[in-house]
Amino acid sequence: MATAPTTTRDLGSADCVLDREGLDALVQALRARGRTVVGPTARDGAIVLAELESAAELPYGWGVELEGGHYRVVRREDEAAFAHSAGPQSWKNFLLPERVRQWTADRGPDGEMTVRAERHDPASYAFLGVRPCDLRAIAIQDQVLLGGRHRDDAYGARRTGAFLIAVECVEPGATCFCVSMGTGPAAGPGYDIALTEVLDDAGHRFLARAGTPEGAEVLAGLPQRPADAVTRTAAHEAVEAAAGRMGRTMPSVDLRALLADTLDAERWNDVAARCLTCGNCTMACPTCFCTTTEDVTDLTGDHAERWSRWDSCYDLDFSHLHGGPVRSSGRSRYRQWLTHKLGTWHDQFGSSGCVGCGRCIVWCPVAIDITEEAHALHQEALSKGGPS
C-alpha cells in the first residue's frame, strides 16, 4: 500500500488511514517517546496483554472462541490484528497491579522508627488495542480510585500519563454485551487515538482519529493517508454490524432497581449451588478493584512493609469482622458481587460497575453467566409481580 506524505492534522478535524506499516510506526513512535507499549499478543494458549517491542508481535491472524467457562485461540482466515475480544487480563493488571508496596518502616539502632511512604514513580504506558468496553472500565476505575477523597496514588502515577489507543470492535465475542451496557462497540470518550480495523479487497488498514492533542501529534508523525469514503464507510458499517451481533444481552430494565428488589430471590440459592467461590470472576473483571493489606516484617522485626494486594468479595475472610466473616455463605458472596456490580455501584460511584466485556462469563470455570443470572432475577421478579 502506498504511503502518503506526512501531514499535520488538527485535533478532531479529520481522520486518516494507517496501514500495517503505519501501525509499526505508531509503536516505534510511542517507544521513541519513552513509553512502554502494552498490547495483545498470542502466548500461553491465550491472547494476553504484554509489553510490545513492535507491532509485529500483535496477534495477526488469531481470533478467539469464547463461551461460558471456555476460551480457545483459533487461527483466522484473514490477518486481522484485533479480531479478538477481551482476554484473560485487562488493563487493570498494569494500572492496578496485584501487589503494590505502600510504605516501609525501619527501626534504627537507637530504637527510632522511620516510616517512609512509597514513592510511586510515574509510569509511561501506551496501551494499544483498548476495546471500547475496557476504555469505559478504565474510566470507572478512575472514578473509584481517583475520584473520591482518598486517592490511590500508585494508581494515579500509572494512570495519569497513560496513552490510550482504542480499537473499536468489529468482531464481538459470544460472551460480549457492551451494547446492553452502553459501552461499545464504538469507542466512547477517553482515548488518545481510536482505530477501526478494516480488512477488505482494498487491503488491510486502520481508520484512525485522534481524541487528544497528544494523539493528534503522534498520528501526524506517522506514515498515513487521508481517509477515503470507502474506508470510512467500511469502518462505520463494520462497527454498526458488530452492534447487532452481541453474544449476550442484559434484560432491558433498570438493573439497579432490579437488584435492589430481588435481595430475597430464590435464584441466589440456585447460583450459590453452582458457584465455586473461587474468585476468578472478580480478578478477571476490569472494574473490580478490591484489595486487602498485607504486612511484612523481617526476622529481626526492625524492618516492616505494608503492601496492598488484590482481594475479592468471594474470599471468606474478605468480610471478616470481629468474630468471623459477615458473608459466610456462598450465596451471600455471589449476591454481594452481583448487587454491587449492577446495583449499588450506581449509589457509590455514579455508574454501573459492569461494562459488558464478558470476562467473568468466560473465566468462570463453571460458566456462571452474569447476563443469565440477571435475566433469571428479572423473570423471578416478573413472576412475583414485582417491577418489570
Binding site: 476460551y71 496485584e98 537507637d110 530504637g111 449451588a273 526476622l299 474470599d315
Partner: protein
C-alpha cells in the same frame, strides 16, 4: 520512640515429627538465606533433623509435622502440647492425616498382614488423624510439602507478635495474580485449584498442569459444583475419587460427607 528494649531471652523453637516423610521440617533447612538470621532470633532447642540434642521444653513455638497413627504418638502429642506456648502444625500429614490416612477408608488389619513379615511387631491405630483431632492447635499450615515462604511468614509473624498472612482462599487467586491463563478454561485441563487452599503460588498451573490439591481444601469448598467440572474435563468418577483421595484425603472426605472442615 523510647530506648531499645532490654535484651530478652530468645524464643525457644521446637520441631517435632510424627507419622510423616520429614519433607516439611526440611523446608526449614531449605530457608538457606534466612537460616542464620533465624538462628539469631530463636533458640532451636529441639530439631532432630538438625541436631540430636533433645530439650524437654517448654517451647515458645512448636512446629509439628506428621499425623497420629500409633497409641504412643497419641500420648506424645499431648506432652508436646503441654510444653508448648504456641503450636503450629505443618503439612498435609499434620493438618489432614496425610496420604497415610487412606487407611481410614480401608481395613488396617489387612494392610498389616499383607505388608509386614511379622505383623505382630507392628502396633498401629486404625486411622491416621491430624494433630488437631488430638490437641488444640494455634495454626495449621497446609501443603505437601509446605511452602517455604509461608513457613517464614509464620515464624516472622510469631516473632513480631502479629497475625500471620496465610490466606485461606483458592489457588485461582494465585493464577489470576500471576497472570496465568486458567488451564481449565483455556485448555480444558482438569484442575482442583478452585477448591484448593492457596499457598503454593499456583506452582502446577504455572507449568501448564492442573492442581491436584496438595495444599488441601480452601476455606470455602463447593464439591458438588467442582466434581461435575472435573468430569466434563474428561475425568472418570474413579479419577475424581483418586484426585480427592491423596495427601489430604481425610479432609476432602469430611467435606464430601458434609462434616467439615
Amino acid at each position: 520512640m523510647s530506648a531499645p528494649e532490654p535484651a530478652r531471652p530468645r524464643p525457644r523453637l521446637g520441631v517435632f515429627k510424627f507419622a510423616s516423610c520429614d519433607g516439611c521440617q526440611l523446608t526449614l533447612l531449605d530457608c538457606e538465606d534466612e537460616l542464620l538470621g533465624l538462628a539469631d532470633e530463636v533458640d532451636v532447642v529441639h530439631f532432630l533433623e538438625a541436631s540430636s540434642a533433645v530439650d524437654p521444653g517448654p517451647y515458645d513455638l512448636s512446629l509439628v509435622e506428621g499425623s497420629i497413627t500409633t497409641p504412643e504418638d497419641a500420648a506424645r502429642i499431648r506432652q508436646v502440647r503441654a510444653a508448648s506456648r504456641h503450636l503450629v502444625t505443618i503439612g498435609a500429614c499434620a493438618t489432614a492425616g496425610g496420604v497415610q490416612a487412606l487407611r481410614n477408608f480401608a481395613d488396617v488389619e489387612e494392610f498389616r498382614e499383607i505388608v509386614y513379615a511379622r505383623p505382630e511387631y507392628v502396633e498401629t491405630l486404625a486411622t491416621s488423624t491430624p494433630i488437631a483431632a488430638h490437641v488444640p492447635v494455634d495454626l495449621e499450615l497446609q501443603g505437601c510439602p509446605i511452602d517455604r515462604g509461608q513457613l517464614l511468614e509464620v515464624i516472622t509473624a510469631f516473632l513480631a507478635g502479629r497475625k500471620p498472612d496465610v490466606p485461606r482462599h483458592s489457588v485461582c487467586f494465585a493464577c489470576k495474580r500471576r497472570g496465568i491463563p486458567c488451564v481449565t478454561v483455556a485448555r480444558g485441563i482438569p484442575c482442583l485449584g478452585p477448591v484448593t487452599h492457596a499457598g503454593c503460588g499456583a506452582l502446577c498451573p504455572s507449568y501448564g498442569r492442573g492442581c491436584y490439591g496438595c495444599f488441601g481444601p480452601s476455606a470455602s469448598v463447593n464439591l458438588p459444583a467442582m466434581i461435575p467440572l472435573l468430569r466434563s474435563d474428561g475425568m472418570s468418577d474413579e479419577d475424581v475419587l483418586r484426585l480427592l483421595r491423596t495427601f489430604n484425603a481425610a479432609k476432602f472426605a469430611a467435606i464430601e460427607q458434609g462434616s467439615a472442615p
